[in-house]
Amino acid sequence: MASNEATIKEVDNLQIPDTYQDPSVNKVIDKSTLHKMVWRSLLLQSSFNYERMQGGGWTYSLIPGLKKIHTNKQDLGFALFDHMQFFNTHPFLVTFVQGVIIAMEENKENRSTIRGIKVALMGPLGGIGDALFWLTLLPITGGIGVSLSQQGNIFGPILFLLLFNAVHFGLLFWLMNYGYNTGTRAIASMRENTQKISRAATIIGLAVVGGLTATYINFSLNGTNGSFAIGKMKIDLQAGIIDKIMPALLPLAYTFFCYWMLKKGRSPLTLIGITLLIGLIGSFFGLFAWPAAIK
């Protein structure tokens, strides 16, 4: 256990080099590797947690491709570690991102370029996917199935599954090939500009992370308890003060608090512990909302 923790600490302070020990480019990705990655993408959320979301499952889904591309063990390790960072997109569109990224990995693009493109793609695709699948495909196929189910017809659920999965798996495989081909073509036209492409990708990536910070982090005080009274005037801390200063102020502040702690050499595990403590202590004093239906 002690030695294990020492390694976690080493890994936390690891700098990922931008280039590779073995920069040779070989065409090693074939159809069967791409298809293996499609099947693995079904486990995209297998390590889901609130710190990295799909990061672990995303890395898991890339393993067949990365193993073929990075025969140098150190290159493979840094590539895997790089992909372990925060990742979240729509599970039905993820194969497109996989295709693009694996084409870039195959071409041994700089790690910062790959990272930037990955972050720039994941957020927007997540939003499109929610609208397309959860709010369109599911209600349509569900509605068709339910109309049969309500007559007690067993073909209700069967038809629902067939329709839904025809679209689901059709998209997964098609998008993987489309993403890989797009990635390969795009790389061919941007060969000499990698430095500048990397810069552009970082610009988009950081803007997306800025947007995600404002929308994905759920950190606000409970209206009834998170308030204080001055004489007869009751002031709601969240709506009355914090939101007036700046919307999403607490998420932004907490993100930079975490960033600052990481810079100071604190480990992410410490930060998770601190987050849990804040949640529990705050909740005990009624600063955060409680789950409604089991009050």
């Binding site: 486990l43 889901f48 609130y50 372990m84 199935g145 997306v208 800025g210 910070t213 608090f257 949640g279």
Partner: protein
């Protein structure tokens, strides 16, 4: 009124376990109430009631889908418990919904807890990643699905065998502030993930783009796609400006870069 045999309760639990995995991994949607209702109906020997109840519960959960990572009341346990009690106590599907929703809210709280508690696992996986130990990563990918399977098995098996009253009492025994605390921590936790991304990507010259993205989302309420497209426009502008204003530092590489650029143009056209 039906009685549930131990075998039937186990089968209900097994189905809930499989559906619990499918809700997050695989996503073939066998976990939706429309399918689960039929399966529970078949297990309990009342397929028609199961199918009809499943259809009604499907409509209830039609709007409750995971958007931007936020979890609605749990659809798996809602479908299983709803159908179970519709068949066992002869409740109308619409009434069974009322019984099912509190359970699914409780289960959702437990899943929030799980997704919070499993964050440290990532750091063990980090070590395996750096060591290039893909075998270990492959094994670790199954930890959470197995926990989900066992959890959903238990949460469906217990109500099936003991009935609704006992389980509701057990759920209420958990202090609500603890559940609230885990929920709050789970909501805050992406900040740790973003901070780690920033540690890798952040350079002070790029700070304005982070700020612009934040403002566009926080004040402008723009969707992430719009923010990415705006940033892409700025990035493209920056890219072309830089390419045209390139001042050669050393003659030899610049010459070759120019040659390649010409080649690129001809390829592009």
């Amino acid at each position: 009124m039906h009685d549930v045999t131990v075998l039937q309760a186990i089968l209900v639990g097994l189905w809930a376990g499989i559906a619990g995995i499918d809700q997050f991994n695989g996503l073939t949607h066998i976990h939706r109430p429309i399918v689960t209702g039929a399966v529970i109906g078949i297990i309990l020997g009342e397929p028609t009631v199961g199918i009809i109840t499943g259809g009604t519960l499907e409509l209830v959960w039609a709007g409750m889908v995971p958007l931007a990572g936020a979890q609605p009341p749990n659809v798996v346990i809602g479908g299983v418990i709803g159908t179970l009690f519709a068949i066992l106590s002869g409740l109308k599907p619409e009434v069974a919904v009322g019984v099912a929703v509190p359970f699914s809210v409780a289960v959702q709280a437990i899943i929030t807890l799980l997704f919070t508690a499993l964050a440290p696992l990532m750091h063990t996986m980090d070590v395996a990643a750096v060591n290039g130990d893909t075998k270990k990563m492959d094994r670790m990918a199954w930890i959470e699905p197995v926990i989900l399977f066992l959890g959903f098995f238990i949460m469906a098996f217990l109500p099936a065998i003991f009935g609704q009253g006992v389980v509701t009492a057990a759920v209420k025994a958990i202090p609500v502030w603890i559940l609230g605390g885990f929920q709050a921590a789970g909501g805050m936790m992406p900040a740790v993930g973003f901070a780690m991304l920033l540690k890798i990507m952040w350079k002070i010259e790029y700070a304005p783009f982070f700020v612009a993205g934040f403002i566009a989302a926080a004040y402008g309420k723009l969707p992430i796609l719009a923010i990415a497209l705006l940033a892409a426009s700025v990035a493209a502008y920056d890219f072309f400006i830089n390419r045209n204003n390139q001042t050669p530092t050393t003659p030899a590489p610049a010459a070759s870069a120019d040659a390649d650029e010409e080649e690129d143009y001809s390829n592009g056209i």
